[in-house]
Each structure stands twice: as structure tokens, then as C-alpha cells.
């Protein structure tokens, strides 16, 4: 009986001590970056952040969320800065007084991907709106993110330009709103032989392409710009504004820009530094 009790006590003390270590506060020099799944899942941040941390000693904790969720996280004071890609939502964020100092740090483009059999015959065109119109009229399966992310916002802008309300035009039959991240959408499209819209970064680093291929690219409306935005001290406590600012400045510096441009997957550049951005 005694031995049993002792084991009991020792086991708990050990476990609790470890729990205490695990529950420690973050390192003093760390900031939380609320960002999009595309920059995190593509591996870009994992590629460039070590250089910044080496140079400044600041650790950047990345939350990979959709643009809508990232902005919401920042609005609730739970992040120190945001790196997102939805110009309209960003403008609202700034107009509402939550964000300041928006700067474009990189860009690439969106693409329409789909099955090689291409039932809507959109392959090779450079008109994203016409492609979506063709998909809707043939009622070919289409996967929508449906998560208020930057990609989701772009998709809905294109539907508006096409003058089609995809939900009304067929609901769940061919238009499938999955409410998930880019990777989940690509996995779903691959499994259902469906079309979807992806950012190029996630697409290039995605490992489960199956029968999917890039069908439409090169439409100027498919430009995808990534902006860094600081929190407005007039509305938020911003205890780490100086560190956040330092990170934003580093992203815009020649070193940061070079690091972004140097990131490649299978020899292909995923993000272009903002200096070369189309205006």
C-alpha cells in the first residue's frame, strides 16, 4: 500500500513539474504574426524567418489562418501584425481604424486548376471570368473555399464580374463550398475531379495533385498581392509594436526581399518581391 501511494505521489509531482515548464510564457522577444495559410503552407515563412531571427533575436510565431480570420484575430488584439492578401478586407480593416502602415511585401498570382479531362473546356484561356462562366454553364464540379480567406474573396469577386451567383445557380449540386483551407480545397478537388482556384504558392508546394493541372493563368485579375499591416496604436494596446515594426521593415528591406525572391520549390519561384509588382 505504501509503495503504491509513493508511486502515485512521485508520478504526479513529476508530471506537474513538467506541466509547469510547458506552461511557461513565450520568450520575451517574440511576436505573433497572423497570416494566411498560403504563406505558411507554401513554406515561405519557414524559409525566411530563420534569417530574421538570427539577425534580430526576435522569434516570429506564425498563425496560419485565412485572411478574414487573421484580421479578426488582430482586431481582438491577439496578434501583433498581419500578413494577408485580400485588398478589400484590408481596406476595411484600415478604414475601421484597426490597421496602419500597409505595405505590399510580395506578390504572385492565382490560378484556376481542374481535372485534365477539363469538361468545361477552359484550358489555355487567359480569361478567368470566362472560365468560371463556362464551368457554371456546364455545371462541372467546382470547389469553393467558403472560409472568407483572401482566395475565397477573389473567387467571389470573379463570380460577381461574371454576373453569376453560384449558390443560386446550382447550390450543392456542382458548386461545393467546403469551408476549409487551400490545402483542404485542393485535396477535395483532387478527390472529386473538380475545378478550384488556388494561389500559386500553395499549388506549387502541394503534394497531392493527382490528376489536377493548371488550366487558366495570366489574367491580370488573378494578381495576388501580399500586404503586411501593423496595428493602430490609437485603437489597440500594441505592447510589441516596436518588434512588429522591425519585422515589417525587414520584410521590405533588400535582405527580406531577397529572401522572399530566393524561395523556390522544385526550381520554381513561388513569390516575387514587391519591387517587381505590377501596379
Amino acid at each position: 500500500m505504501m509503495r503504491f501511494r509513493q508511486y502515485f505521489a512521485i508520478a504526479f509531482v513529476v508530471l506537474l513539474a513538467r506541466g509547469g515548464i510547458a506552461a511557461e510564457q513565450p520568450l520575451p522577444q517574440s511576436i505573433i504574426l497572423a497570416s494566411t495559410t498560403s504563406v505558411e503552407n507554401s513554406g515561405l515563412l519557414a524559409h525566411i524567418l530563420p534569417a530574421f531571427t538570427r539577425e534580430t533575436g526576435i522569434t516570429v510565431h506564425v498563425l496560419a489562418q485565412g485572411t478574414g480570420q487573421a484580421l479578426e484575430t488582430a482586431t481582438r488584439d491577439d496578434a501583433d501584425l498581419v500578413l494577408v492578401h485580400d485588398p478589400e478586407a484590408e481596406q476595411k480593416f484600415i478604414t475601421a481604424g484597426d490597421g496602419i502602415d500597409r505595405h505590399q511585401i510580395a506578390w504572385n498570382d492565382f490560378i484556376v486548376v481542374g481535372p485534365r479531362s477539363d469538361p468545361a473546356h477552359i484550358s489555355g484561356t487567359h480569361d478567368a471570368v470566362a472560365a468560371l462562366t463556362a464551368i457554371a454553364s456546364t455545371k462541372a464540379p467546382f470547389v469553393s473555399r467558403g472560409d472568407k480567406s483572401g482566395t475565397d474573396a477573389l473567387e467571389h469577386r470573379l463570380w460577381r464580374l461574371a454576373g453569376i451567383d453560384p449558390v443560386a445557380a446550382g447550390g450543392g449540386s456542382w458548386y461545393r463550398d467546403i469551408g476549409g483551407g487551400m490545402g483542404a480545397a485542393l485535396n477535395t478537388a483532387q478527390a472529386m475531379n473538380a475545378y478550384t482556384i488556388s494561389d500559386r504558392g500553395t499549388w506549387l508546394s502541394f503534394g497531392n495533385k493527382g490528376d489536377l493541372a493548371v488550366l487558366v493563368e495570366g489574367d491580370p485579375r488573378l494578381v495576388n498581392r501580399y500586404d503586411v499591416i501593423l496595428l493602430n496604436p490609437a485603437k489597440h494596446p500594441v505592447p510589441k509594436q516596436a518588434l512588429a515594426k522591425r519585422f515589417a521593415q525587414w520584410l521590405l528591406s533588400p535582405e527580406g526581399q531577397a529572401a522572399i525572391g530566393a524561395y523556390k520549390v522544385d526550381g520554381e519561384q513561388l513569390f516575387h518581391p514587391s519591387a517587381t509588382a505590377p501596379r
Binding site: F12, L15, G19, A23, T37, L63, N208
Partner: protein, 199 residues
């Protein structure tokens, strides 16, 4: 590590609570038992969301700066595992209390001492209770994803890494991690089982 800490907390809270509920008579006891049993099916994402709102810097406990830290994850998992440990311990101790309760009282054992003795008598079921709590914490992903944020090298744990790798289309690695996770879970349970079954 997060799961072990959370399980330890759940055990520290849940074991005495469960045993106490079995042997003490006080107003509201039945309500507490009902609560513990009702919370067996507590949805992790809802716990995560609630905790997120509480720990958010603009929430009531925002000053603790716990959101997106391993600490928040431990709290979330402990909240999920404690009802399981409590309810199962209550069930396990109820019967020995009916059998030995009279004897313990005759011996003049205090309530606290009785709890210790009963937990020892019912130890096999108690181990199962703790392992059930551990099973909940190690397999859980919804709550820790929300309050932990899945930050690489900081709050990324096995389950959230599997979600991430799946979304990156890296299904092989996701499956590999899944196998490791199952291995860990089975190993811990087997160790506990062997260790306690021998006695």
C-alpha cells in the same frame, strides 16, 4: 507533453472529485454527478472557442497572455479530460464504498483517508479512468488548434501537425505521424496497464 500535463491535472482534480462524489453526501451532489457525466461528451471545438474568447487579449483573462501558448492548450485539454476522469472514478469508487464504507467509518478513518483507501482498492478502474482521460487529450485536435494556433515549434503538436500535413497534400508524412501518435498512445496505455496490473 501537453497531453501528459493535461492528463495529470485532470487526474489530480478528477480523482478526488470523483471519489468525493461517491462517498460524501451534500446538497447539489447529484447535480454535480450529472454535470460530470453530461460533460463526457463536451465538444472540443466548443471548449476551444469558449477558452479562446476568455483568454483573448480583449477577453476577461487576456492579461494572462496565455492565448497561443502551450499553457492554453494544457488548460483546454484538462477541461476536456477532467469530467471523464471524475465520472469514471465516481463509478469505480461507488461500489467499494458500499462494500467497505461501513468498515472504514468504524475504523474512524477520515473522509480524506477514505478517499485514498478507496482509490487504492479500485485502482484498476481508476487507472482506466485516467487512461480514458489521456486518450481524450492525446487524440484531441479541435480545441488545441483554436487556443494553441498550431505555431511551428511552439504550439504544434502531433494532431495539429497531422492536420497541417494533410492540408499540404503530404499524405505520406501525415500518415507516418499518425502511426507514431498511435504508437505513443498504445505504448503509454500498455505501460500503465502492465505497471498496475502486476500489483
Amino acid at each position: 507533453m501537453v497531453s501528459l500535463s493535461a492528463t495529470a491535472i485532470a487526474a489530480v482534480v478528477g480523482l478526488p472529485c470523483g471519489a468525493g462524489l461517491a462517498i460524501c453526501r451534500f446538497p447539489g451532489r447529484r447535480a454535480l454527478i450529472l454535470l460530470a457525466n453530461a460533460c463526457l461528451g463536451l465538444p472540443p471545438v466548443v471548449v476551444g472557442l469558449g477558452l479562446y474568447l476568455i483568454l483573448s487579449r480583449s477577453g476577461p483573462l487576456g492579461g494572462l497572455a496565455l492565448l497561443f501558448t502551450p499553457g492554453a492548450m494544457v488548460i483546454a485539454q484538462a477541461l476536456l479530460a477532467t469530467p471523464i476522469v471524475t465520472a469514471l472514478t465516481h463509478r469505480a469508487v461507488e461500489e467499494p464504498w458500499q462494500d467497505y464504507g461501513g468498515a472504514l467509518r468504524v475504523d474512524g478513518a477520515s473522509r480524506l483517508r477514505s478517499i485514498g483507501m478507496l482509490l487504492a482498492i479500485a485502482r484498476r478502474s481508476v487507472v482506466t479512468a485516467v487512461l480514458a482521460g489521456f486518450g481524450r487529450t492525446i487524440s484531441e485536435v479541435g480545441a488545441v488548434l483554436i487556443v494553441g494556433g498550431n505555431i511551428a515549434g511552439y504550439t504544434r503538436i502531433m494532431t495539429t501537425a497531422i492536420v497541417l500535413k494533410t492540408s499540404e497534400g503530404d499524405l505520406g508524412l501525415a500518415l507516418g505521424l499518425g502511426c507514431i501518435l498511435i504508437g505513443i498512445s498504445v505504448a503509454v496505455s500498455a505501460c500503465a496497464f502492465v505497471l498496475w496490473e502486476r500489483r
